[in-house]
């Protein structure tokens, strides 16, 4: 049976809104995805029937809140294919990477090396630069191929016994290129390096089996994966997490506090200081359950058909250039392009007047833009609820920009 996109769209009320007389053609999912009713219902249910703090109170609302919060952890763990208590809730994907940069980073010594790439989002560059300025570690960058993939053929040149961590994007937020994680892990393990994967752009496209990847850390954001804002996830290999000091101090993360010293709770509590984002965590749990119930084989085929329709249509508009993999293999539905003679922001603004939402600019990947001497790109990032009408409206808008703005 073919993928029923209308049934999926029906679960996202915002997609049937008319705003200023225009329909909603939402193609900015890489920045933030829309959220289905199941997520809104879960958050509302918590707020209206179970709102209280977690892990402390003995009253029945606190019991309900704690149960809902820990059920959410179990749902996220199931989505990732890992044991429940290996999931740490964070403030977002950026927060998760910063956690590792701070806590794992504190175990590193001057001269130790961390390997990143030129394609990374600023969230997977700046935390390591901050660590470098604190601790004297060294950073190195894998190059990027002209079709927007991390050049893994360079791995042997960059990996040395001093390399302690390789941290790379699972899917590029600019080009949609999928990383061959197993190849990275195999190479990294040969020198004893750990591997962290930034899954911000991969998690919204279906369940994962983290143990099969052989990695050490995985991070993703709730709001890009159909969940609420202000919540993200870090998974870490338990023996590493147990060796890492806390990122923040406060309530919940302690073993025993005296005025002289404090001992730490085991992970995940060690890394969840203070009252967590309870409602958003419950919402993310619902989003993970929603994703697990979706037909992802069908959804992926549907998304790739949209990518093909988009690429074919763009190539018919004079002066468009694609930046990223030309094929549908080993990619996800993120497509960047340039329109000669028209700045990406002007393309995006014109698209807005057609009711089409995209992102334009450097996509928090300025080193990648510098590497290819780009002002920026216009980025189309899709989700299973997008359909042909979204792509066709976008193509009409790009053609209009090409006609009127140059």
């Amino acid at each position: 049976m073919s993928f029923d996109v209308a049934a999926v769209r029906g679960q996202f009320p915002i997609l049937s809104e008319i705003i200023d007389g225009l329909p909603v053609h939402y193609l900015d999912n890489g920045a933030s995805a829309q959220t289905p009713l199941a997520v809104m219902d879960a958050v509302r249910h918590y707020e209206t029937t179970s709102r209280a703090n977690v892990l402390r109170g003995v009253h029945r609302l606190a019991e309900r809140a704690t149960e809902a919060y820990e059920n959410a952890r179990a749902r996220v763990a199931s989505f990732l294919g890992v044991p429940t208590m290996e999931v740490v809730f964070t403030g977002g994907c950026t927060a998760a990477i910063n956690l590792v940069a701070f806590s794992y980073g504190s175990l590193l010594k001057p001269g130790d090396r961390i390997l990143l790439s030129e394609i990374e989002h600023h969230s997977n560059i700046v935390p390591w630069q901050l660590l470098r300025s604190r601790s004297g570690i060294e950073l190195e960058m894998l190059p990027v191929t002209t079709d927007g993939r991390i050049d893994l053929s360079a791995l042997p040149r960059f990996l040395t016994p001093k390399t302690k961590l390789v941290s790379l994007a699972h899917v590029s937020n600019v080009t949609g290129a999928l990383l061959d994680v197993r190849a990275v892990v195999e190479a990294a393990k040969s020198v004893g390096a750990k591997v962290m994967i930034d899954g911000a752009q991969r998690a919204p496209h279906g369940p994962l089996d983290l143990p099969s990847l052989g990695i050490d850390f995985y991070a993703f954001a709730g709001h890009k994966a159909y969940g609420p804002n202000g919540i993200g996830v870090l998974w870490g290999r338990p023996e590493l997490m147990e060796a890492m000091p806390p990122f923040m101090g406060g309530g919940s993360m302690i073993g025993r506090v005296t005025l002289a010293e404090t001992t730490w709770a085991p992970s995940p509590r060690r890394f969840e200081a203070g009252t967590p984002a309870i409602g958003p965590a419950i919402g993310l749990g619902a989003a993970c359950a929603w994703m697990q119930a979706l037909d992802w084989a069908g959804a992926h085929d549907h998304e790739m058909a949209l990518v093909q329709r988009l690429m074919d249509g763009l190539q018919k508009i004079e002066g468009t250039r694609l930046f990223g993999p030309a094929s549908l293999q080993n990619r996800y539905p993120v497509v960047s392009f340039m329109l000669d003679g028209v700045h990406p922001h002007d393309v995006a603004q014109t698209l807005d007047s057609f009711g089409v939402a995209v992102r334009a600019g450097h996509h928090c990947a300025q080193p990648l833009m510098d590497r290819f001497d780009l002002d920026g790109t216009t980025r189309v990032s899709m989700a299973p609820y997008n359909d042909n009408s979204d792509i066709d409206a976008l193509l009409a808008g790009v053609a209009h920009a090409a006609k009127t703005l140059r």
Partner: protein, 135 residues
């Protein structure tokens, strides 16, 4: 489809590219970036003996609004000192609806940007650069 923002005058200003290019012997060169969108303006100015702008050249790596603003600025900046440039800034702010009062050519062309808050910095970036150059 609605084209409220890219009205004819804005597009014409951008296409005119008034003042585009480098100066050979600038008194000062400044660069200003918008970290949010990546727009960049490099401005060369040559001053006369009284601190007034004798010549101005701009290199814009940015959107149409930023290009149009640099073009508009180049058309009216020559002969002005820092106070005169500040008055142009007020004119732009009035066009964008950020200050009360009437606005004048050429910055009145940017009135359609008043309802697009996220794009207003694109218009103001060349003015910011010129302020830096004169400070």
């Amino acid at each position: 489809m609605s084209d409220q923002l890219y009205q004819e005058r804005i597009v014409a200003l951008a296409k005119a590219k008034t003042g585009a290019g480098k100066l050979e012997n600038p008194t000062r060169t400044v660069r200003r970036d918008n970290p949010l969108c990546g727009d960049r303006v490099i401005l060369d100015i040559r001053l006369d003996g009284q601190g007034r702008i004798a010549e101005l050249g701009h290199q814009v790596r940015g959107c149409l609004l930023c290009q149009a603003s640099a073009s508009a600025l180049s058309a009216v900046a020559v002969g002005r000192d820092a106070a005169g440039v500040a008055e142009l800034r007020h004119d732009a702010e009035r066009a964008l609806g950020r200050e009360p009062g009437d606005t004048h050519e050429p910055f009145d062309a940017f009135a359609p940007v008043a309802s697009h808050k996220s794009r207003q910095e694109c218009v103001l970036l060349p003015l910011e650069a010129l302020k830096d150059a004169l400070s």
